[in-house]
Amino acid sequence: MSTIESQSSSIGPKAPAQPASRSEKVRDGIRRSSQFVETIAEPAVRVGKEIKSMLLDPAPVKQTPRSVVAPSIRPGDKPRLLGGLTVLIPAYNEGKYVADTIRSVQRQSVHIDHVIVIDDCSTDNTGDIARACGKEIVVVRPPKNCGSKATALNYALDYVSTEYTLAIDADTTLADDAIEKLMPHFDQPKTAAVCGMVLPRFVSTMWERGRYIEYLYAFLFYKPIQDYYERPLIASGCFSAYKTDILRQLGGWNTRTVGEDMDLTWSVYRLGLSVRFSPEAMCYPVEPNNFHFMSKQLERWCAGFAQCIKVHWKDIVGTSVLRSMVATALWDAVVSVFALFILLPLLAIFVHPAFLLGYFLDLPTIVVPVLIYAAKRGEFFKALSSIPAFWVLRFVNTWFVTRAFWNEFIGKRSIKVFEKGH
């Protein structure tokens, strides 16, 4: 029909040029106006939908859940994970701790299909110790030092044939039921990664005590709220599990930042998938026990945070809830320097000495949840005695955050070298 019409119009008498072009101009004008209105209105409609999704329906999952953990068939056998699980342990000069880590994996209450230790050209006996832990432990050694945890993990990712991949640090031990508690979160098809609860293995020096309070607070106060909205800020690199195909789709752990775990987490959100937090799945890393190692770790963490913001900022702005979490964290991190190091001392000197109490203004918001959680774990006095160390660590954190943001955004001296934190 349209062909006949077009033919007839082409062979028929031509209409006068002037009136036709005027009406075409009018029609064209109307079409352009409506396109412009649509262009302007579309973002507003999308913002409306975004606000609705943030307030009411952040991430409903309609797909059918399926159980990941299958019960054991024979008595005495460990339950198996459907699809299988490979544990990756990147290690560089971890001779002191790697055996503990491997043994904690061997003690797991579920069956682990493969354990791969990546001996990243250690100069100590890390590889030999790992091999001595059992025949089932596969030790791979890259031809040369990978230079970062991300590269070492990617090296081993080629060997993974299971549906799930779990990465743990070589200085991190797991509770015996940690993986069993972690994996059921994959029952929801939209879940791409699950992270566990982290607490320092040793709590004796001031730095370890500060970190102990920091972890209690971050993992038991903030993280469950983030998890409720299905937006944990980060799946900690020391103990997180991933769907292998998603990992491969994302190109593994990215080396463009020194915060490969945060980078990966935010990349997962970019795919529209979710990350979950399992507070019952416990792991215990060795935390820096002196300022030297603490400073290296903080330098890397803070630079990683800044680099991830630089790389992902457009995606973050497009991800409900996450954008507000990152923006408020960023604001607090930057403003705290001004408040702690400049404003409060000046007010104390020139207005009233009582302004020094400002350093403890948020004491209840930290102490109350920390002590409640510590009491539940039977560690009330350990937490109480560690609280002063947290205030010291907080000042140190402030300094390193400031330095990292200065280097990344103003000084243009981005950190590219991955240095171990302990």
């Binding site: 262009t39 302007i40 579309e42 973002p43 999308r46 913002v47 975004e50 009411l56 329906d57 409903p60 920091e214 972890y215 607070y217 971050a218 993992f219 903030y222 469950p224 709220i225 409720y228 909205y229 800020l233 980060i234 903080l298 963490w301 945070f305 702005v317 497009g318 809830v321 954008r323 507000s324 923006a327 408020t328 964290a329 604001w331 607090d332 991190a333 403003v335 705290s336 320097v337 702690l340 007010l347 207005v351 009233h352 009582a354 302004f355 109490l357 948020d362 004491l363 209840p364 918001t365 930290i366 102490v367 109350v368 949840p369 409640i372 907080r394 954190n397 402030t398 390193f400 955050v401």
Partner: protein, 126 residues
């Protein structure tokens, strides 16, 4: 505050907001049949925790007032004046006022950025 970052500031208030919205979100989930008693218990525990935190902050203020005696009112007035330019006479009010103002500013900036990015992408810019 997250591990490695220093402050609770407006982040604390933002998370209080998230906790405040939880029951509404859960009601929506319940209407879709996606809620559970476990989730409601979690929300109740967060509300309880925040109630204790607020109570303890009030107690902290009361202890400070008691410890500093008459000097406190002078400090409060000076603090409030320094913080808000005499818009409120209460230091606690001034602190909350500044924190809320910062939070609204930061959130507005985030949504403005979001809006600009969407318009730019709609117009074909990257």
């Amino acid at each position: 505050m997250f591990a490695g970052l220093p402050a609770t500031g407006i982040g604390g208030i933002f998370y209080m907001g998230l906790v405040f919205f939880m029951p509404f979100k859960e009601l929506w989930r319940a209407m879709k049949g996606e809620s559970s008693m476990e989730r409601w218990m979690f929300i109740a525990s967060r509300w309880g925790l925040f109630a204790i935190v607020i109570a303890m902050m009030w107690l902290q203020g009361a202890i400070m007032k008691w410890a500093m005696g008459a000097d406190m009112s002078k400090f409060m007035a000076a603090g409030a004046s320094a913080a808000t330019g005499n818009k409120t006479s209460s230091l606690a009010g001034a602190t909350l006022y500044l924190a809320l103002l910062s939070l609204v500013g930061v959130m507005s900036l985030v949504y403005l950025t979001r809006f600009v990015i969407m318009i730019r992408s709609a117009l074909g810019h990257r």
